[in-house]
């Protein structure tokens, strides 16, 4: 089942000039956001080919119209307990520049949530928790209405050679 949602890039012109668009998704009842310009498409989960001896958060490789794309389970990347993949499970395909190389990767998340325009300066730095490795992946925290959204630093999340924030 391919449940493909085209992300409307047009949205980026709606907001104020200094505002950035963020796509948010749910994971473990938290809302996370990522720069919408990195998002290529959103797909439903489908079985992937296991890559031998890969870290446990790498689910495998998928064929994206002829390109081999690795699929990362974000829950496992963050060390959150895994859940069964269901009909809402989605793969967000992103294109990120990692160490001067443009890479396309898929991120498995619980569900996509919304698109927000957020002024960059409203994002607050993460409180410095000594014991939280995951803070490393976080670009900033921001409030949208009553909710708090965690903005991710995709480059760090997806740099698999970088072990600094690695859990599990």
């Amino acid at each position: 089942m391919i449940d493909q949602v085209e992300v409307n890039q047009q949205l980026m012109f709606d907001g104020e000039s200094d505002e950035k668009q963020f796509l948010t998704f749910m994971m473990h009842d938290e809302e996370y956001g990522m720069d919408i310009l990195a998002v290529q498409e959103i797909r439903g989960w489908e079985p992937v080919t296991t890559i031998p001896n890969s870290p446990n958060f790498v689910r495998g490789a998928m064929n994206l119209r002829g390109t081999i794309v690795p699929i990362i389970d974000l829950r496992m990347r963050f060390g959150i307990s895994a859940i069964e993949y269901g009909p809402l499970t989605v793969v967000i395909v992103v294109s990120v520049q990692i160490k001067e190389q443009q890479k396309i990767m898929g991120l498995v998340v619980d569900a996509v949530s919304d698109v927000y325009s957020i002024a960059e300066e409203k994002a607050k730095d993460v409180p410095d928790f000594q014991d939280s490795d995951n803070a490393y992946f976080v670009h900033g925290l921001v409030n949208v209405g009553q909710k708090m959204v965690v903005l991710l630093n995709l480059e760090k999340v997806l740099d698999l050679s970088d072990k600094s924030g690695l859990k599990g």
Partner: protein, 714 residues
């Protein structure tokens, strides 16, 4: 009006590098004393285009340098100077130098001018310092200089089609006017009757008297571009200027009559303006170049200079367009069938359409692959130079033979092939061939022969590097290997096995190898590079007769013949080329060695068994040896058996990179997409051997132990 010249940079660089290659090749063909004018002309033209192009784009360092080079070539061409070996050497060095300059400019770096300046000085010494200084003097051509100046009579009679070649005499004339004092007469006797008059043809011809301090070639240079389209005579007529010629009244009258001339004169009056303007243009260009430079460096790191374009014959493109046309028609046919209701007859039509589609697709694939195929002469062509330089350094006489230069090979393979080949050829010259004295002493011709041979064999390309030198000294290699601990004293190795040792990593580190026949320097790197291309390299050698290195490579890196195998629930692909055989295991022939290493005795060999599911950490595979299959594969002349659950189909697969979006995976060389759209991984045999911790024969006590433990069956 501003044209962004940077859009033409790529083409300029590409053409210039091609020109340099051509220069180099022709220079190597030159033998002092026996030079033929066509060769010199070719070299001159290449240098001239590079100069022209670099001048246009504001690459002053290149145009300045090529100018002196060109001057020398021009003098040789005109027979004013005799070509010497020193000239050839200097010119070859200049080719390298220009290549370096252009390379730096292409990479948007500041070129290092030290070598260029040094070479330029040497050129100027040869030319007698007449070139660059005289350029500056020209500024004021007033009365004072007339003493040393010469008057030339120039007859310029263009072909009628001159304008159609895009040449404008007016510009040439104004350039002439810049050289000195110019008198011009136009002859209009060629103008036909009005009815036959074609305004696009040139019917005029001209005679000039130019008094100038410049050498003659400065004049001929102006007419360079129209040489083939006009009749040009340049003669020095010395002092004649003052007495006769100028005073000829007819000529003067004619000159007044002629329309173009009036324009001409005003043009020469304006020459100061034009030159100023030209200078302004140049600075504008330079600024542009600089702005491009900065903007590019800011935005991204400059692309790798090897990632360039490819030139494809128009016939190949035409046939592709045809095929795509066919494909579109077939697609239209199929979609038409799809729109109809499915009936008995439409199914037949559908099948026919699908068959046609399959045919079209195959054709298209073949032809698209052909685009990447280039003759191997692209690699071979660099060797004459290499052999020339290296043999000079080594004081050896070498003849290089190139065979099968037209054999086609994928461009990516070719690019990666040249480094290992350079290494092998250099080794052949250095270690393989003897000095002329040694050769004579051994009853051989003093000139050693190195042959590069390329040919197709099956789906592979085979490249041989042969020399008729002294061959590998097996005794010395053996003792060296023992000294290095690669093998032990008691090992009884065949000649082939000993020759194999030169590819061992241990061999390349020791310096002392070079004084024996030691071909081992860096040979492991050569082998690794070739294996990275899914190829192999072998050596055969006969002492005193010579050695042959044989490189075998797949024609393309994009497609391989694969054997699909099943491991637990996963499908992997083993390159068919590395499979020796597949068999069911006879358990009675399996022995355990040490900690869990299983070996199968297969005829005379012991094959280590690698359990793929184990190496790849997959669960749910069949573990009993008698219920599984063993695929025996070979890499580096080393055989291993891969334990798989089942053999599936064999098929051609298109290789996709796994590394591009992910990272290097040990034991996996890439991925592909199967017919059902799923991803399947391709096994990298030599990587797997490394991963499994097995070591190669000769390098460890492993096989020796095996031999000791496994008694021959009674």
């Amino acid at each position: 009006m501003s044209i962004d010249l940077s859009q033409f940079f790529d083409v300029f660089f590409e053409e210039s590098f091609e020109g340099l290659d051509a220069m180099e090749a022709e220079l190597l063909n030159l033998e002092p004393g026996k030079e033929d004018s066509e060769t010199i002309n070719t070299i001159f033209r290449a240098a001239h285009s590079i100069k022209g192009g670099s001048g246009t784009f504001g690459f002053v360092s290149v145009s300045d340098f090529t100018h002196v080079l060109e001057t020398l070539l021009d003098q040789i061409r005109d027979g004013q100077r005799v070509l010497t070996a020193e000239h050839v050497n200097l010119l070859l060095k200049s080719v390298d130098c220009v290549r370096g300059l252009l390379g730096a400019l292409q990479a948007e770096e500041e070129p290092d001018l030290s070598e260029a300046n040094e070479l330029k000085a040497r050129f100027e010494a040869i030319l007698g310092g007449e070139t660059s200084e005289s350029v500056d003097v020209e500024e004021e051509h007033v009365a004072s200089e007339v003493q040393q100046s010469t008057t030339y009579q120039i007859d310029f009679k263009p072909e009628p089609h001159l304008f159609k070649t895009g040449n404008e005499p007016l510009y040439m004339f104004s350039e002439l006017a810049e050289l000195g004092q110019l008198e011009v007469s136009a002859f209009h006797d060629g103008i036909p009757d009005f009815l036959e008059f074609d305004p696009e043809d040139c019917f005029l011809h001209w005679r000039f008297f130019l008094t100038t301090v410049k050498p003659e070639h400065a004049i001929s240079e102006i007419f360079e571009w129209v040489e083939d389209d006009a009749d040009i005579k340049i003669e020095a007529c010395g002092g004649l200027f003052e007495d006769d010629t100028i005073g000829t009244p007819e000529v003067a009258t004619q000159s007044e009559e002629s329309g173009p001339l009036a324009a001409e004169q005003s043009a020469s009056e304006n020459q100061v303006d034009t030159s100023v303007q030209a200078e302004a243009n140049l600075t504008a260009v330079q600024k542009k170049v600089e702005s491009v430079k900065t903007s590019k460096t800011e935005s991204k790191k400059s692309s790798d200079s090897t990632a360039t374009s490819i030139r494809v014959g128009i016939d190949k493109v035409d046939s592709l367009i045809n095929m795509v046309g066919e494909l579109v028609i077939t697609q239209a046919m199929l979609s038409q069938i799809g729109d109809q209701e499915i009936t008995e007859s439409s199914i037949a039509a559908l099948q026919e359409g699908l068959a046609q589609l399959a045919h079209n697709t195959r054709d298209l694939q073949e032809n698209v692959m052909r685009i990447r195929m280039l003759p191997i002469s692209f690699v071979f062509s660099r060797f004459p130079r290499l052999v020339r330089d290296t043999s000079q350094k080594l004081n050896k006489q070498v003849e290089l033979k190139l065979v099968g230069e037209q054999t086609e090979l994928d461009k990516t393979v070719m690019e990666k092939l040249s480094d290992p080949m350079v290494h092998l050829v250099r080794n052949s010259l250095d270690h393989g061939l003897e000095t002329p004295e040694e050769r004579i002493a051994n009853g051989k011709e003093p000139v050693g022969i190195v042959t590069l041979n390329a040919f197709h064999q099956g789906g592979n390309i085979v490249i041989e590097i042969m020399d008729d030198g002294k061959g590998l000294d097996t005794e010395k290699i053996r003792s060296k290997a023992i000294a290095n601990g690669l093998i032990s004293e008691s090992d009884d190795l065949s000649v082939e096995e000993i020759n194999e040792l030169i590819f061992m990593p241990g061999f390349s580190t020791a310096d002392s190898v070079s004084d024996i026949s030691g071909r081992g320097v860096g040979m492991d790197v050569v082998r690794r590079n070739i294996q990275a291309l899914n190829g192999s390299v072998e050596v055969t050698s006969k002492q005193g007769v010579g050695s042959t290195f044989t490189i075998r490579l797949p024609l393309t890196l994009a497609i391989l013949d694969g054997q699909l195998v099943q491991v637990a629930t996963h499908t992997y692909i083993i390159p068919l080329i590395s499979i020796v055989e597949s068999l069911q295991i006879d358990i009675s022939k399996v022995s355990k060695v040490g900690k869990g290493l299983e070996v199968l005795r297969l005829r005379d060999e012991y094959i280590p068994i690698l359990r793929l599911y184990d190496i790849f950490s997959h669960k749910g595979a069949r573990e009993e040896l008698d219920k599984t299959l063993l695929v025996v594969v070979e890499s580096d002349n080393y055989k291993i058996g891969l334990l798989v659950d089942d053999l599936l189909a064999q098929q051609q697969v298109v290789i996709k990179s796994l590394e591009a979006n992910y990272q290097k995976v040990d034991g996996i060389s890439g991925a592909t997409i199967l017919g059902d759209g799923t991803v399947s991984l391709i096994i990298d045999i030599s990587g797997l051997i490394k991963l499994s911790g097995l070591r190669r024969p000769g390098s460890t006590e492993l096989l020796v132990d095996l031999k000791g433990e496994e008694a021959e069956p009674a």
